[in-house]
Amino acid sequence: MKFTLHVWRQSGPNARGEMKQYEATGVNPDMSFLEMLDVVNQELIARGEEPIAFDHDCREGICGSCGIVINGVPHGPRRRLANGKIEAKTTCQTYMRDFTDGQHLWLEPWRAGAFPVIKDLVVDRSAFDRIMQAGGYISANTGGAPDGNAILIPKRDQEKAMDAAQCIGCGACVAACKNASAMLFVAAKVSHLGILPQGQPERAQRVVRMVEQMDKEGFGNCTNYMECEAACPKEISRQFIARMNRDYLWAQTQDLETTSSGGAG
C-alpha cells in the first residue's frame, strides 16, 4: 500500500507550523499507524532530516501517550465492527488495513489552547496533571488502612467506578470537542472516586476543586455535542458528565470550609 501524508510540522513551541507532504510507500496492511510513521521516520533519518515527533509509549492502548488527529478525527477514523458497534481505539491501535490504498492522510496534533504544541504532533498535556493534583485523589496516607474487605462495595458500584476509572488521560475528548472542553476527563475521575464509599468524605471539595482547576487551565465548557464520548478510546460515557454536574451543584450546598483548631497541647 502507499499513502500521501500531510503532516503538521512545527519545530518548537513558539515556531510557526505548517503542513508538509511525505510519501509512505511499501506499507504493509498489518502495520500499525505508528509503525508506518516509524518507517517514514527511518527514511527521513537516512536523508539527514528531522524525523516527525509524536508521543507514544506502550503501543497497546493503555498508557495514553499517543494522540494524532488523523483526517480530522482524534485517534483516527473508527470502523464499524461486525457486532454493529463502533470500535474504540487509540492511535497506536489503528492499522493501515483500515485505510484505502493511495489515500491522503492529514496528521495533526491535538488542537486546544490548554494543550500547547511542543513540537510537530507532540502537545503539552500537563494541564491534566494539574487538575488531578487539585483533587483527584483520596487522602489516605500509606499504612493503617483497614482490611480490604472491611468496606463492602456492591458489585454494580465497583463496576461503574471501574467504567469511569478506565480513562487513560489521552486527551482525545478535548481534541474532539469544538469547545476544547475537558469535562469527560474530569467527570471520569470525579465519578470514579465519587461512586466509591472511600471517596465520600472528600466528594464535595474534590469536584469543586477539580472543576475550578479545569476552568483555570483554559478548557471550554460542555455544550452537549457528545463528540468526546465518540472519540474516547475507553468508551467513557457522557453520563458521567451529567453525574459530575449534579455533584458540582450539590457541592455548592455543602460547607467546604475546613477549620482547624490546632493542638490543644
Binding site: S11, G12, N28, D30, M31, S32, E35, D38, V39, Q42, I45, A46, E49, A53, D55, D57, C58, R59, E60, I62, C63, G64, S65, A82, E87, K89, Q93, I118, K119, V122, R125, S126, D129, M132, Q133, Y137, I138, A140, N141, T142, G143, A145, P146, D147, G148, N149, I151, L152, I153, P154, K155, Q158, A161, A165, Q166, I168, G169, H192, L196, Q198
Partner: protein, 637 residues
C-alpha cells in the same frame, strides 16, 4: 569486594518485624531537611515518592514520560498477588513465600521474599483505601483469580487493567503530595548519569527532553525505580521508551548488576507478523484460567483449527504437567511452546504460534461470562490480529516480558553504593530466576509503600542532611561527560537510524540468548555485539542539534547503552553453567527437557562490577543462604 546482604538474624518469620524495630528513625522535624531523588514513577517509584513525602521528606521525581501516570506499570494486565486467604483455599504468607521461592527456581534471597509475602496483605488494604476498584463478588467482597505457579486463588484484579488502576492509585497519592508542596515532579526529564561524591550517591544528571538542557540535581539519597531491560531484545511487550540507561549508568559508576541473564519470556503474547513490527503485545496470563493451549498432533498440519478434531489435538501443557496444566509457570510454558514449534507443530504464518482456545469455557459458561472477565483483552487481540477470538482460538507465542535481574541490593534495598536504593523491576532481589504471574505489581508496591520508607530512614539517620551542592567537581564532571556523549552521538552523522541497530541487536539476543542458550550461541553473540556497537558509532544518524525535543537523540542514547549492556547479559549467561528458571542452557537439561540446576556450584547471586571501558566486568558472588527452605527439584507435573 564483599557483598553483604545485611539480612537480619533470627527466625525467617520474625526478621522484618525485628528489623523494623531495630532500625534507626529520623526525627519528624528533621525529615524535611533531607532531599530524596526518585527516578521513575511506575508502581515502585510513585508509591515510594508519595509515601516518603507523607513522612515529611522533600522529594523530587523524574520520568521521561509526559506524566508520571504513563510509566509502563500501567500496562500490567492480570493482577496482584496477596496472601489474604479470602478464598479459604489454604493460602498463607508462608505459602506465597514458598510459591515465589520455588517459582524463582531457588535463586532468590529467602528473607526478601518472605518480607514480600508478609507485606502483600497490606498492599491490598492500602490500594482499596485509595479507591482502586478491585473486582468484587456480588456480596461486595473482594474477588480473586488464579495465576500460574500457584494452586490457590490469591490474585486481585481490576478487569484486565490491574496495573493501570494500581498505578493511578499511586499516582493519585503522588498528586496529593505534589499539591501539598512535598513533591516536585519533573516529567519529560531523563536521567543520564548518577553522581557519586565521596563514595556516596549524591545526585543525578538529567536532560530536560523539551529544552534539551543538561543539568544536575543534588539529594541525600537517590532511588532508582526505572524498570527492567527487556527491550535489549528490541521486540518485547515493554513500552517503546523502556530502557536500561539509568541502571546501566549506575553500573558504570560502580553499582553491581546482579543476574542480568535472568530474563522472563512470557508464554502468551501475540506472535510476530512482520519485519516492520515495533513491539509485541501480551495477552494476560489470567487467560490461561479459562483458555486451553494446544497444537495439532501431526507436524505440518495446516487445517484451520475448527477442522482439527479433538483426538488430533495435543493439549501439551495438560499432558506434560497434569497437576498445574495450563497454569504451569511462565518459563515452563514458554519452553514447552518452543519445543512443539521446533517439532514443526506450530500454527499460523511462519509456524511460530500455538492455540489458546476458549471454546470449552464459552460452551461451559457462556460468552457473556468470558466477555465480562476478559472483554478488553479479547478486544485488544481483535484490534491487532483482525480475528475474532470468541470464534477462532487465539494464536500466541512467547515474547520477552520482564527481567528478573537488576542492580544488586541488600535487604534494605540499598545497592553497594551507599545512598543508592533500587526498587521494583530495576533491582534483582525477589524473583530469582523466574517471576510468577501477578508478582511484579506486588513487588513494586511492596518496595515503595512498605519497605523503603523504613530502610531509607535507617540510612539517613546515620548521615547529616545536605553538605554537597551541584557546583561540586563531581557534578560538573558528570555533566560534562553527559554533554560530550550527546555531542558525540550528534556528530556521527551516519545514515542508519538507531532503530536499525536496535533491531539488529534484538535479533542477535533473541536467536543466541533467548529462550534457549548454549556456550556456542553465547560466544557467537559476544563476538557480534562489539561489531554492531562499533558500527553504531560509525554509521548511526541522529539529525538535529540536540536542542529542543529530539526523540531520535533520546533513542540513540538508549540504544548505545543497550549495545554495551547486551554484552554484560551474555557474559552472565555464559558463566552460569546450569539451567534455572528463565535461563535455559541447552547443555544442562534433564532427559525430558526440563531445566537442570546445579546447586553445588551456582547457588549464588552473580553480581557484576564495572572495571572500565573494554575490560571484562568483575564477578562477585553472594551465596544464597537457605535457612528455611531446602532447594528441591522444581516440579509442576
Amino acid at each position: 569486594m564483599q557483598l553483604n546482604s545485611n539480612v537480619p538474624p533470627g527466625p525467617l518469620a520474625e526478621k522484618w518485624q525485628k528489623h523494623r524495630f531495630e532500625m534507626k528513625l529520623v526525627n519528624p522535624a528533621n525529615k524535611r531537611k533531607y532531599k530524596i531523588l526518585v527516578v521513575g514513577t511506575g508502581l515502585a517509584g510513585a508509591s515510594a515518592a508519595a509515601s516518603l513525602a507523607e513522612l515529611g521528606y522533600q522529594v523530587e521525581t523524574f520520568c521521561f514520560q509526559d506524566s508520571p501516570r504513563r510509566a509502563h506499570s500501567i500496562a500490567a494486565q492480570g493482577g496482584i498477588n496477596a496472601a489474604k486467604n479470602y478464598q479459604n483455599d489454604g493460602d498463607s504468607v508462608f505459602r506465597l513465600f514458598y510459591d515465589t521461592i520455588k517459582g524463582g527456581d531457588f535463586r532468590a534471597r529467602e528473607a526478601n521474599v518472605y518480607r514480600l509475602a508478609e507485606v502483600s496483605v497490606n498492599i491490598i488494604d492500602q490500594c482499596v483505601a485509595q479507591g482502586v476498584p478491585f473486582s468484587r463478588e456480588y456480596g461486595g467482597q473482594l474477588e480473586n483469580r488464579s495465576f500460574g505457579g500457584a494452586q490457590v486463588s490469591r490474585t486481585f484484579y481490576c478487569r484486565g487493567q490491574t496495573g493501570q488502576q494500581l498505578l493511578l492509585g499511586a499516582y493519585s497519592a503522588l498528586c496529593r503530595q505534589i499539591s501539598l508542596g512535598n513533591v516536585k515532579s519533573h516529567p519529560r526529564t531523563e536521567m543520564l548519569d548518577l553522581v557519586v561524591v565521596g563514595g556516596r550517591a549524591r545526585g543525578i544528571v538529567v536532560r530536560d527532553l523539551v529544552t534539551g538542557q543538561v543539568s544536575s540535581y543534588v539529594g541525600d539519597a537517590v532511588l532508582l525505580a526505572t524498570g527492567g531491560y527487556s527491550p535489549v531484545y528490541f521486540l518485547s511487550t515493554n513500552a517503546k521508551g523502556c530502557n536500561v540507561t539509568a541502571t546501566y549508568r549506575a553500573f558504570k559508576r560502580g553499582a553491581c548488576f546482579a543476574n542480568p541473564c535472568y530474563t522472563q519470556i512470557h508464554p502468551t503474547c501475540i506472535p510476530v507478523t512482520g519485519d516492520y513490527q515495533s513491539k509485541l503485545t501480551l495477552m494476560s496470563e489470567s487467560l490461561r484460567n479459562d483458555g486451553r493451549i494446544w497444537v495439532p498432533k501431526t507436524p505440518g498440519d495446516k487445517r484451520s483449527p475448527d477442522q482439527i478434531p479433538e483426538s488430533e489435538r495435543d493439549y501439551y501443557l495438560e499432558r506434560r504437567y497434569p497437576s498445574f496444566g495450563n497454569l504451569a509457570p511462565r518459563d515452563i510454558a514458554s519452553r514447552a511452546a518452543k519445543m512443539v514449534c521446533d517439532e514443526g507443530r506450530g500454527v499460523g504464518p511462519g509456524g511460530r504460534g500455538v492455540y489458546l482456545d476458549f471454546s470449552d469455557a464459552i460452551r461451559r459458561r457462556g460468552e457473556k461470562y468470558i466477555r465480562d472477565k476478559y472483554g478488553n483483552l479479547f478486544d485488544m487481540y481483535a484490534h491487532i490480529t483482525h480475528e475474532d477470538p470468541y470464534k477462532t482460538p487465539m494464536r500466541i507465542y512467547p515474547a520477552l516480558h520482564y527481567t528478573m535481574g537488576g542492580l544488586w541490593v541488600d535487604y534494605n534495598l540499598m545497592s553497594n553504593i551507599p545512598g543508592l536504593f533500587v526498587l521494583g523491576e530495576a533491582n534483582f532481589s525477589d524473583h530469582g530466576a523466574n517471576r510468577l504471574g501477578a508478582s511484579a505489581l506486588m513487588q513494586g508496591l511492596a518496595d515503595g509503600y512498605f519497605v523503603v520508607p523504613y530502610t531509607l530512614g535507617n540510612f539517613l539517620a546515620g548521615c547529616a542532611p545536605g553538605g554537597v551542592s551541584e557546583t561540586a567537581p563531581e557534578f560538573k564532571q558528570a555533566e560534562q561527560e553527559v554533554s560530550d556523549r550527546l555531542k558525540k552521538l550528534l556528530a556521527i552523522k551516519g545514515n542508519r537510524s538507531a532503530t536499525w541497530f536496535h533491531r539488529e541487536l534484538g535479533k542477535v539476543m533473541w536467536d543466541d540468548c533467548g529462550m534457549a542458550r548454549s556456550e556456542k550461541s553465547l560466544k557467537k553473540a559476544l563476538a557480534r555485539i562489539p561489531e554492531l556497537r562499533e558500527q553504531f558509532w560509525r554509521e548511526a544518524g541522529v539529525p538535529g542539534n540536540g536542542q529542543g525535543l529530539s526523540p531520535a537523540l533520546e533513542e540513540a542514547g538508549r540504544v548505545a547503552d543497550f549495545l554495551e549492556f547486551a554484552e554484560l547479559l551474555c557474559i552472565d549467561a555464559l558463566h552460569r553453567n546450569e539451567s534455572c528458571g528463565g535461563h535455559f542452557r541447552e547443555e544442562y537439561q534433564t532427559p525430558d527437557g526440563e531445566a537442570q540446576r546445579n546447586d553445588a556450584e551456582f547457588s549464588y547471586v552473580a553480581a557484576w562490577q564495572y572495571q572500565g571501558q573494554d575490560k571484562p566486568p568483575a564477578l562477585h558472588k553472594e551465596p544464597l543462604v537457605w535457612e528455611t527452605v531446602h532447594p528441591s527439584i522444581r516440579s509442576y507435573k
